[in-house]
C-alpha cells in the first residue's frame, strides 16, 4: 500500500549535503534532463548514506545540526513548498491540456523544479514517508488550538490579575481566624492532610501576588486538545514576606499555600469581582494532594471575559520564588516532616520535591521556550508526543504517573544531550516526526536506573549527588539546576509502563511493510481488558490505614494510605510473579475536582485499583516457583515472607533442596499474594479464566462419564495427535497397496489446536445404547492421503473418483488387521466431480479420521476443461466448482493447517482465542455463514498484527481483541491482511490492496447493475464482503469469497459491538461482579427472527455441547439401574454414527429447499433452535409466473381458498385492466411452515412464528 514502504525513514544528516547543493543557484536554462540527473545523483547519495546510517540517529548530531542550519535558511516550512509544487503542477497541466498524454501524465512527466525535488525528497528523509507526513499534518490540525480565539481568555487573565491585586492584604491571622473568615465567604480551605493542628503558633497572611506568569503548554503553543479538554496554567507568585524560615517544615508551606489559594478563590467569587459568574473548583496539581490548585471554568455569559469558545479551563497555581528556602534543606535525603508518633527521621523525598517543584515554574518555562525558539518543529514534536502518550493513558492525573510537562522537558533535554558518547540525541533541524520518534526511542532504550538523567551541573558528592537522588527516588530526572527531581513523584511501575509502550511504538515506527500511523496516534488504547492479558480489580480494604505495610515512617512521606497502597502493589506483584509477567500496571480513578465550598475529598475506602498484567506466554503457566536453597538462611527468609504459608521446602529430582511455591492451577492465581494486604477474597476480582467454561462441556449437566473436562484440559490436543500418528503409521505401512502412501496430512481444526472443543475419545467398544442420544455425536477429523505419483490413473475426473473408491476399499481391508475399523463412504449427487467418497477410520483410543485421497492431476484436468474454448459454459462452471472444492480441500486446507499450527505454537493463547471466537459466533447462530478457517484467520489477525498493543497472551484478552476488531473494522473499505508467518513482503501487501480494490469495484458495479427484482443474484454477486487475505490467499478467495454476505458481516459487527460493550461494562464495574455476568455474551436474542424452530434435544446428537444443556437428557432411565449406565435403546440404532447430526442435516435440507427465500440461523454446537428470516424482497406481492421459485398463493385468496375479488376483477378486466388482484401472488407462509415441519419430521418439537410478514402485506 504505502508507496513509501521501501524507503527508509532515513536520518537527516545526509540532506546536509543535498540542501547545500540545492541552494546553489541553478541556471535558468538548465534543461529538464539535467535536473533529472541532479535529482538522481542526490537520490543515490542519500541511498548510500541511508544504508550506512540506518538506526544510527544518535551518532551524527553535528552533521544534523549542520543540515538544520541549511534548511533553516531556505524556509523549511515544507508545507508551503508542497503547496507551491502542487500549484505549479496544476498550472502546468492546465496550460497544455491538448497534450496527447492526458493531463495527469503530462504533469507527471514535466521537468521537475528544484523546489519540487527537495519537497519530494524531504518527506522521505525527514518523515517516514509522504503519507506519514500528510497524516501528521492532518493530525496536528485536529489537536492544535486556535490562538485567534484567545481574546476573551486574555481579557479574563488580565481581569484575574486585577482582582488579585485589588484584594486587600492582611497579615498574621491565626488558624481559627482564617477558617472563620473563609467560612463566611463559603470557602473551605483545602488544607492537605494531615490537617494543621489547632495549636499551631504560626500565622497566615495575604498580599497581592508579586508576579503572575502564564506557564505550561499554552504560552509554549504546545497545547494538544484531549478528551478532558485542556487548560491554561497561571502561576501566581506568593510574596516572599508571607513565609518564615522554618516554613518548609511539617507542611507549613503547604498550609499557607492552601490558604493563599482560598483567598484567591474567595476574591474571584466575590460578587464585586466582576468574574463571580465563573465557576470555580479546587483540584490537585498532578494528583498531589499536598498541592491544591484553583480551576476556573468559563462563565458562559458571553461577556468579554467568557472564554467558552476556547473550551478550556484556567488553572491557578500558587508558587514561591526559589529564594524563599535554602535549596540545601530540601535535598532528597533530608527529613522535613516530623511526627509525634515516631522518633525516626527518615528522608521525605516526596515531600521535598513537591515543595521544590513549586519554585521552578518560570525557569522550566524559560528552558522549554528556549528550545521551541531554536528548534522549529519542537512544538509540533511535543504535541505528537503528548497525543501518543495520552492515547495510551500514560498522561494521567494521578500522582505516580507521567505528565505532558515531563515529556516536554525530556524532549528539551534530548535536544541538548542524551545521545551516544555524551552527544545530543536530537538536533534542532529535525522534523516533528523525528523529534517525537527520537524521544520515544530514548525512552525505550534508556536505562533510567543505571543512568539517571541529570540535566545540569552534576554534583559529584553531597546532598545533590546522583547517588542521593537514586537512593531516594524511583525515577530520577533532575533539572538544569541540579537540585530538583522533575520525576520525583513517578513510580517505577509507571516508568516501566512508559518504556513498554515506547518500545512497542518503536516497533511500529520501524516496521517497514505497513503504515502504523493509526496505531501510533489515532487509536485509543487504554481499555484494560483489551490492553492487558489479565485484569485484576482490587477493592481497597476498609482498614487501609491500619495495614502492616503502611508504617509510621511511610506515613511521613505518603500522607494518604491509599496512594501508598496503590504504589506498593506493582513492586510486590513483580517480586512474586517474576518472569511470568512482562509488565504490571496499576490504575485508579484520580480524585477529581471539588467545589470550593466543600472540604477536600480523599480516596474512599472502597476505591478500586485496576491492575493490568502482561503475561510472558512461555512462563506464565509454570506450576512451581523455585526459591533459594534451604541453607541460604537469609534468602530463604525473604522468600518465606513473600510467599507466606505457600512456601515450602522441597527436594527436587536433581537432589537439591529448595524453597518453593506451588501454584494451585495452571496460570495465575490471584489469591497468592493477598496475605500481604489482608484483602479479603471477595474484594479481589481476577479477570482471566472466566470464559474457559464456554469452550468446555457444561460440567453441571453432563456426567463426567460422558465427557471429562479435566482430563481433556490436561491432555489437550495431544491425544488426538497421537492417534493420528498411529493412523499415519498404519496407513503408510499397509502392505499390498498398488501405490505406496507418501504423505498424510491432518487437516482438521483439531490439528491446528483450534476446534471449539478439545476432541475427546469415544470408546467404540461400548455400544451406542450406553450413550444418551443427545451425546452420540462423534466428530470426524479430516485427513488427506497422498500416494506416490503414478501414470496409471485414468484421465477422467469421474473415473478418478471411482479409482479412489477402489483405493479406499483396499486400504480399509488392509488396516483392518491393525485394529482399525474403516468404513468406505460413497457420496452421491452433490459433489459429483470433486470430492466424492471418503474413508472413515476408527482409531484407538476413540477418534474417527475421515481420510480422502488427493490426486493433484485433478487440478490440471479441471483447468484443461475450463480453459478449453469448446466446452460449454455450464461444463466450465461445474469444473470450476470442482476445482475450487479440490483446491480448498486438498491444497489450501493443509497449508492453512500448517501455518495456523505454527502460529498456535508461537502464541499459546491463540488456540483459546480461536475456540472462544468460534463458540461465540456459533452461539449467535451465525455458524452457517462463517467458515472455521475464516474465524481462525480473524483470530490470528489479532496476533499477527496486534498493533496498537502487543500480542495477547491470554484467551480472555485475545477474545476481547477479536471482538474489538470485529466491531471496529471497516470491511467495506479495508482488506484485513493476516501475515501468518511474518514473512509478508511489501509487494504482497500492495497486491492484496490492489485485489481488494478490484473486488470492491466489481461489487459496486454488479450491485448497481442488478435490479431489485433479481434478489438472488444480488446476494451471490457480492464477493468477499469480508476480505481476509494472507500471503497464500491474496484474493481472499478460499474462506470468505461466497459467504458471509454483507448482511451477515453487518450483523456480526453489531453483535461484536454489543458483546464488547457488555464485556467492558462487566469488567469495569467497580462492584465485585459475579463471573456469570459474562454468560450474556453467549446468549443470542431470538425475538428478531420471523420464525424460530424448536428442535427436540433428545434427537440432537450434539446437544451435550449446548451452552446450558438440561441434565435430564443425560441421566439414565430409572434410578434402579443407575449402575448399569444404559439408556433406553437409541432411536438411531445400535451402531455408532459418525458425524451424524440431525440438526445439521435438517439445516442443510432447509437451505437446499428454501435457500432463495429465507435465511436460516443455527448454533452448530448443540443448538436446539433454528432461526428463520424471510427474504423481505421475496415477500412482496409479485406478478404470477410459471417459474416463480417459491411456494405461493394468490394475493387475494381468502382463508377458505376462494379468490375474493375474482368477480370484481373480471369487471375491471373488461375495462382493459389486467393488473392487480388474482394476477399477483405472495409466498404462502403457512403452507411453507407446514412443509418445513414435515421435512423435519421427528426432529421438530414446535415452531414459533414471531412475525408473519405476509399477513402484514
Amino acid at each position: 500500500m504505502a508507496p513509501s514502504i521501501k524507503r527508509k525513514a532515513g536520518p537527516t544528516p545526509v540532506s546536509a549535503k543535498k540542501s547545500r547543493k540545492v541552494m546553489e543557484p541553478e541556471p535558468e536554462s538548465s534543461s529538464g534532463e539535467e535536473a533529472y540527473d541532479d535529482m538522481i545523483d542526490e537520490e543515490e547519495d542519500s541511498n548510500d548514506d541511508d544504508e550506512d546510517e540506518d538506526d544510527e540517529e544518535e551518532g551524527d548530531y553535528i552533521e544534523g545540526e549542520d543540515q538544520a542550519m541549511g534548511s533553516d535558511d531556505d524556509s523549511n516550512d515544507d508545507e508551503d513548498e508542497q503547496d507551491e509544487f502542487m500549484a505549479a503542477a496544476e498550472h502546468d497541466a492546465s496550460s497544455k491540456p491538448q497534450n496527447s498524454m492526458g493531463v495527469k501524465n503530462s504533469s507527471l512527466y514535466k521537468a521537475p523544479t528544484n523546489d519540487e525535488i527537495q519537497g519530494l525528497q524531504e518527506s522521505s528523509d525527514l518523515f517516514k514517508s509522504n503519507i506519514f507526513k500528510l497524516q501528521i499534518e492532518e493530525l496536528l490540525k485536529e489537536v492544535q488550538i486556535d490562538y485567534k480565539k484567545a481574546q476573551p481568555l486574555e481579557a479574563a487573565l488580565r481581569k484575574l490579575k486585577e482582582i488579585f491585586d485589588r484584594t486587600p492584604a492582611h497579615q498574621e491571622l491565626s488558624l481559627a481566624a482564617i477558617k472563620a473568615n473563609m467560612k463566611k465567604r463559603s470557602v473551605v480551605i483545602p488544607f492537605p492532610s494531615p490537617e494543621p493542628s489547632s495549636d499551631i503558633q504560626y500565622t497566615f497572611g495575604y498580599s497581592a501576588p508579586s508576579a503572575m506568569h502564564l506557564v505550561g503548554s499554552f504560552p509554549l503553543k504546545t497545547v494538544s486538545k484531549s478528551r478532558d479538554g485542556w487548560s491554561v496554567d497561571v502561576a501566581v507568585e506568593m510574596p516572599e514576606e508571607l513565609f518564615q524560615e522554618k516554613d518548609h517544615m511539617n507542611y507549613r508551606y503547604f498550609y499557607k499555600r492552601a490558604y493563599y489559594l482560598s483567598v484567591l478563590a474567595a476574591a474571584i467569587q466575590d460578587k464585586k469581582s466582576g468574574m463571580s459568574s465563573t465557576r470555580t473548583e479546587f483540584s490537585t496539581l498532578h494528583g498531589d494532594q499536598r498541592k491544591p490548585i484553583l480551576i476556573l471554568h468559563p462563565s458562559g455569559d458571553k461577556s468579554a471575559t467568557d472564554f467558552k469558545k476556547m473550551r478550556c479551563t484556567i488553572r491557578i497555581i500558587p508558587y514561591i520564588p526559589s529564594s524563599v528556602f535554602p535549596a540545601q534543606r530540601l535535598a532528597p535525603g533530608r527529613n522535613n516532616v516530623r511526627s509525634a508518633d515516631t522518633t525516626e527521621q527518615p528522608p521525605t523525598p516526596q515531600y521535598n520535591t513537591a515543595l521544590q517543584q513549586d519554585t521552578a515554574f518560570t525557569s522550566h518555562l524559560t528552558f522549554l521556550y528556549q528550545h521551541s525558539k531554536n528548534c522549529a518543529a519542537f512544538k509540533d514534536g511535543c504535541i505528537l508526543l503528548k497525543v501518543w502518550a495520552t492515547q495510551r493513558g500514560l498522561i494521567r492525573s494521578t500522582n505516580e504517573g507521567f505528565n505532558g510537562f515531563l515529556l516536554e522537558m525530556l524532549m528539551g533535554y534530548l535536544l541538548q544531550g542524551g545521545g551516544a558518547n555524551g552527544g545530543k540525541k536530537l538536533a534542532n533541524g529535525f522534523s516533528s516526526y523525528q523529534l517525537a520518534k527520537g524521544t520515544i526511542d530514548f525512552i525505550a532504550q534508556h536505562d533510567f536506573t543505571a543512568h539517571p538523567i541529570m540535566m545540569g551541573q552534576q554534583a559529584s558528592s553531597g546532598e545533590f549527588s546522583k547517588e542521593a537522588f537514586v537512593s531516594n527516588f524511583d525515577v530520577v530526572f533532575v533539572d538544569s539546576s541540579g537540585k530538583i527531581n522533575l520525576a520525583g513523584h513517578v513510580s517505577k511501575a509507571a516508568l516501566d509502563e512508559l518504556q513498554h509502550e515506547a518500545r512497542l511504538a518503536m516497533k511500529f515506527f520501524t516496521e517497514s511493510s505497513d503504515d502504523k500511523f493509526e496505531a501510533l496516534f489515532l487509536k485509543r488504547v487504554d481499555s484494560p481488558i483489551l490492553r492487558f492479558d489479565n485484569v485484576i480489580k482490587v477493592h481497597v480494604p476498609k482498614n487501609i490505614a491500619g495495614l502492616k505495610s503502611y508504617t509510621k515512617v511511610a506515613a511521613l512521606d505518603y500522607p494518604s494510605p491509599f496512594v501508598h497502597f496503590a504504589r506498593s502493589i506493582a513492586p510486590l506483584l513483580k517480586r512474586g510473579l517474576t518472569d511470568r509477567i512482562h509488565l504490571v500496571a496499576t490504575r485508579y480513578e484520580p480524585l477529581g475536582n471539588w467545589a470550593t465550598s466543600s472540604s477536600a475529598p480523599d480516596f474512599r475506602a472502597d476505591s478500586v485499583i485496576t491492575i493490568g498484567l502482561l503475561l510472558n506466554a512461555a512462563e506464565c503457566a509454570r506450576l512451581v516457583d523455585l526459591g533459594p536453597p534451604a541453607d541460604d538462611l537469609e534468602a530463604a527468609n525473604v522468600f518465606r515472607t513473600l510467599w507466606g504459608n505457600k512456601a515450602e521446602l522441597r527436594r527436587f529430582k536433581d537432589g537439591s533442596i529448595l524453597e518453593s511455591a506451588v501454584w494451585e492451577a495452571q496460570g495465575m492465581d490471584a489469591h497468592d499474594w493477598i496475605h500481604h494486604f489482608a484483602v479479603s477474597h471477595d474484594s479481589v476480582h481476577y479477570w482471566a479464566g472466566q470464559l474457559n467454561k464456554f469452550i468446555q462441556y457444561n460440567s453441571k449437566a453432563i456426567p463426567e462419564r460422558l465427557f471429562d473436562n479435566k482430563v481433556a484440559a490436561a491432555n489437550g490436543f495431544q491425544t488426538v495427535v497421537n492417534a493420528f500418528e498411529a493412523l499415519s503409521k498404519a496407513v503408510k505401512t499397509a502392505e499390498d497397496m498398488p501405490l505406496s502412501v507418501t504423505h498424510m496430512y491432518f487437516a482438521s481444526p483439531a490439528a491446528r489446536l483450534s476446534s471449539t472443543f478439545i476432541p475427546q475419545p469415544r470408546d467404540f467398544n461400548v455400544p451406542a445404547a450406553h450413550f444418551p442420544d443427545s451425546a452420540q455425536y462423534v466428530e470426524p477429523l479430516d485427513v488427506i492421503i497422498q500416494f506416490e505419483t503414478s501414470q496409471k490413473w485414468p484421465d477422467n475426473l469421474k473415473a478418478i473418483q471411482r479409482m479412489k473408491t477402489a483405493f479406499y476399499l483396499r486400504l480399509a481391508d488392509k488396516i483392518k488387521y491393525k485394529g482399525m475399523r474403516a468404513t468406505v463412504v460413497e457420496e452421491t449427487a452433490e459433489h459429483s466431480l470433486g470430492l466424492n467418497g471418503y474413508l472413515d477410520v476408527r482409531v484407538a483410543p476413540g477418534f474417527v479420521f475421515r481420510c480422502r485421497i488427493a490426486y493433484d492431476k485433478e487440478i490440471t484436468l479441471c483447468e484443461d476443461i475450463i480453459s478449453d474454448r469448446k466446452s460449454s459454459q455450464s461444463l466450465k462452471e461445474q469444473h470450476q466448482k470442482a476445482l475450487d472444492l479440490y483446491n480448498r480441500h486438498f491444497v489450501q486446507a493443509p497449508m492453512h493447517t500448517f501455518l495456523m499450527h505454527a502460529l498456535a505454537h508461537k502464541y499459546p493463547s491463540l488456540s483459546q482465542t480461536i475456540r472462544l471466537t468460534k463458540r461465540w459466533v456459533s452461539a449467535h447462530w451465525l455458524a452457517p455463514y462463517f467458515n472455521d478457517e475464516a474465524l481462525e484467520l480473524l483470530s490470528a489477525a489479532v496476533y499477527s498484527d496486534p498493533a496498537p498493543w502487543v500480542a495477547p497472551a491470554s484467551g480472555f484478552a485475545g477474545f476481547a481483541r477479536v471482538l474489538n476488531l470485529l466491531s471496529t473494522w471497516d470491511w467495506k473499505h479495508e482488506p484485513l491482511v493476516v501475515d501468518l508467518n511474518g514473512e509478508m513482503t511489501a509487494k504482497e501487501r500492495d497486491d492484496i490492496r490492489h485485489n481488494f480494490a478490484n473486488t470492491r469495484k466489481n461489487m459496486i458495479a454488479s450491485n448497481s447493475a442488478t435490479s431489485p427484482q433479481t434478489k438472488t443474484t444480488s446476494i451471490s454477486s457480492d464477493h468477499a464482503s469480508m476480505f481476509i487475505a494472507t500471503n497464500k490467499d491474496t484474493f481472499s478467495r478460499w474462506w470468505t469469497w461466497q459467504s458471509p454476505s454483507p448482511m451477515m458481516v453487518a450483523r456480526l459487527k453489531a453483535l461484536a459491538k454489543t458483546s464488547l460493550d457488555h464485556m467492558l461494562k462487566v469488567t469495569a464495574a467497580s462492584a465485585t461482579t459475579s463471573s456469570s455476568a459474562l454468560n450474556a455474551l453467549f446468549i443470542t436474542p431470538t425475538a428478531q427472527y420471523d420464525v424460530v424452530i424448536d428442535l427436540n434435544p433428545a434427537m440432537c446428537t450434539r446437544y451435550a455441547q449446548n451452552l446450558s444443556p438440561d441434565a435430564q437428557y443425560f441421566v439414565t432411565k430409572g434410578d434402579k439401574y443407575k449402575n448399569l449406565g444404559t439408556f433406553q435403546k437409541s432411536v438411531f440404532g445400535e451402531q455408532i454414527l459418525i458425524g451424524f447430526d440431525p440438526a445439521a442435516e435438517y439445516l442443510a435440507e432447509l437451505q437446499r429447499t428454501y435457500g432463495d427465500i429465507a435465511l436460516f440461523f443455527h448454533d452448530r454446537y448443540g443448538g436446539t433452535q433454528i432461526g428463520v428470516l424471510w427474504n423481505p424482497m421475496a415477500l412482496s406481492p409479485r406478478a404470477w409466473k410459471v417459474n416463480l421459485g417459491f411456494n405461493s398463493k394468490p394475493a387475494d385468496v381468502n382463508k377458505d381458498g376462494v379468490l375474493e375479488v375474482a368477480k370484481e376483477l373480471s369487471t375491471k378486466a373488461k375495462n382493459g385492466k389486467t393488473t392487480g388482484g388474482s394476477k399477483m401472488v405472495v409466498p404462502n407462509i403457512e403452507a411453507l411452515m407446514s412443509e418445513i415441519e414435515r421435512i423435519g419430521y421427528g426432529l421438530v418439537r414446535s415452531v414459533q412464528v414471531n412475525r408473519d410478514p405476509s399477513a402484514t402485506n
Binding site: 508507496p3 533529472y36 535529482m39 538522481i40 507527471l108 512527466y109 521537475p112 519530494l120 503519507i131 500528510l134 497524516q135 492532518e138 493530525l139 492515547q391 489515532l522 485509543r524 485414468p794 477422467n796 473408491t805 476399499l809 481391508d813 468404513t823 468406505v824 463412504v825 460413497e826 460449454s872 461444463l875 432411536v1131 435438517y1146 437446499r1152 429447499t1153 428454501y1154 432463495d1156 427465500i1157 409466473k1185 416463480l1188 421459485g1189 417459491f1190 411456494n1191 381458498g1201 379468490l1203 375474482a1206 373480471s1210 389486467t1218 394476477k1223 401472488v1225 403452507a1231 407446514s1234 412443509e1235 415441519e1237 414435515r1238 421435512i1239 423435519g1240 419430521y1241 421427528g1242 426432529l1243 421438530v1244 414459533q1248 412464528v1249 408473519d1252
Partner: protein, 342 residues
C-alpha cells in the same frame, strides 16, 4: 384472448369449479399443522395451492404426450409420485409423474438436462435390474419380479427426494378424457395428509420417509457393504476401460487415413502433448521446463546515456505518482474523519 380466459374463469367459478390464475387452475390442498404456534389463525387451516393446466408444448415428447399430460406447478417440497397419484385418482388413471426440480440444474442447458435425465433413468433401470439379478438366484418367475418391482417402489418412497420450493411436475394420464376430467375438477376438500385423530396409518406412513428417518436412511445408504461397492467400482472401471479402449481404437482408425476426397485429417495419437506418426515423435515442452529455461541474456543496463536518463525520469515520475496517490488516500481518510484522535 384475455377476455376469453376471463369468461371461462367466470363460468367455472360460478359452477363450483376451480378458480383460475393466468390460465392455470388453482387447487387448494389442506395441509396439516403439526406443531406451529402462532397468534395468527391462519395456521389452523393451512391451504397449499397447486396450479395446473394442460401441458402444451410445440415439441412432441414421448414422456409427456400431448393431450394426456397435466402440467402441475407449485408442488410441495415433500411431494412424491403417490401423493400426486392420489390427488388425481378420482379423475382417472395416472400413468406417470415426472418432477422437475427447479434449483438443481438451473444453469444446465436443455440438452444437458435431458442428457442427465436420461442418465438418471438408465441408472435407475440398472439398479432395478441389478436388484432383480440379486434375487434371481433365490426366486424366479413373474411373482418374484413383481415383488421386486413393488420393493423398488417402496425403496423409492424410503429414499424420498425433496424438491426445492415451488417445483413443477408433469402428470400423465392414460387417456385424454381423464385429463379433461381433471381440468374440470370441482371444488372439493383435498387433504395432503390427515393429521389429527382420524389419521390413518397410510397418512402416518407418508411422513415416515421424512425427517430423521430420511437422514438416517441416507446415512446408511452412503455406507454400502464393501463387497457391493467393490462390485460397483469394478463394474464401472470395466466399462470405463472398455469405452476408453474403444475410443482409442476409433481414434487410431481415423489416424492418418485418407478420406474419399483425398485429404488426410491429421489427428493426434498417443499420449497428450506428444505426436507421432510411428517414426518421428514430437513431444511438447512441459510447463515446468519452460519456466526453468534460462532467460535470454539481457541487454546491458545503464550503458547508454538514454537508459540512465529514462531510469531517472521514471524514478521521478514514480515519486510524483506516489505523492499524488498518497494525497488521494489522505483525502479519502479525511472524508471519513479519521484524524480525530479523541
Amino acid at each position: 384472448m384475455v377476455s376469453k380466459k376471463q369468461k371461462s374463469e367466470d363460468s367455472t367459478s360460478a359452477a363450483g369449479g376451480l378458480d383460475q390464475i393466468s390460465n392455470f387452475f388453482i387447487l387448494p390442498l389442506h395441509m396439516p399443522s403439526l406443531t406451529t404456534t402462532s397468534k395468527s389463525s391462519a395456521y389452523k387451516n393451512i391451504l397449499h395451492y397447486l396450479y395446473f393446466k394442460k401441458h402444451e408444448s410445440p415439441k412432441e415428447d414421448a414422456k409427456t404426450p400431448k393431450n394426456r399430460t397435466l402440467f402441475v406447478l407449485n408442488v410441495p417440497a415433500d411431494a412424491t409420485e403417490s401423493h400426486l397419484r392420489e390427488i388425481f385418482k378420482p379423475c382417472g388413471r395416472v400413468v406417470s409423474v415426472q418432477f422437475i426440480s427447479r434449483v438443481r440444474d438451473n444453469n444446465l442447458s436443455k440438452e444437458e438436462r435431458e442428457q442427465q435425465e436420461e442418465l438418471e433413468r438408465l441408472e435407475k433401470e440398472a439398479a432395478l435390474i441389478e436388484a432383480q439379478a440379486h434375487t434371481a438366484g433365490t426366486k424366479s418367475g413373474k411373482k418374484g419380479a413383481k415383488k421386486q418391482a413393488a420393493a423398488a417402489v417402496v425403496q423409492e418412497e424410503e429414499h424420498r427426494r425433496l424438491y426445492a420450493t415451488g417445483s413443477q411436475a408433469y402428470v400423465v394420464f392414460l387417456e385424454e378424457q381423464e385429463l379433461n376430467k381433471a381440468l374440470a375438477m370441482k371444488r372439493k376438500k383435498h387433504s395432503w395428509i390427515n393429521s389429527g385423530p382420524d389419521a390413518s396409518p397410510a397418512d402416518i406412513a407418508k411422513l415416515t420417509g421424512l425427517g430423521v428417518s430420511k437422514w438416517l436412511n441416507e446415512y446408511h445408504t452412503r455406507r454400502p457393504e464393501p463387497s457391493e461397492l467393490q462390485l460397483k467400482v469394478d463394474d464401472y472401471m470395466d466399462k470405463f476401460e472398455r469405452s476408453e479402449y474403444e475410443a482409442q481404437q476409433a481414434a487410431l482408425a481415423r489416424h492418418n487415413v485418407m478420406d474419399d476426397d483425398g485429404f488426410t485429417l491429421v489427428t493426434r495419437a498417443g499420449s497428450k502433448g506428444q505426436n507421432s506418426d510411428g517414426v518421428i515423435t514430437i513431444t511438447a515442452a512441459k510447463a515446468e521446463d519452460v519456466k526453468n529455461l534460462k532467460p535470454k541474456k539481457k541487454e546491458l543496463q545503464d550503458f547508454y546515456r538514454f537508459q540512465m536518463r529514462e531510469a531517472k525520469r521514471d524514478k521521478l515520475v514514480d515519486l510524483r505518482r506516489k505523492f499524488e496517490e498518497d494525497k488521494l488516500r489522505i483525502e479519502a481518510l479525511k472524508v471519513n474523519r479519521r484524524f480525530k484522535p479523541y
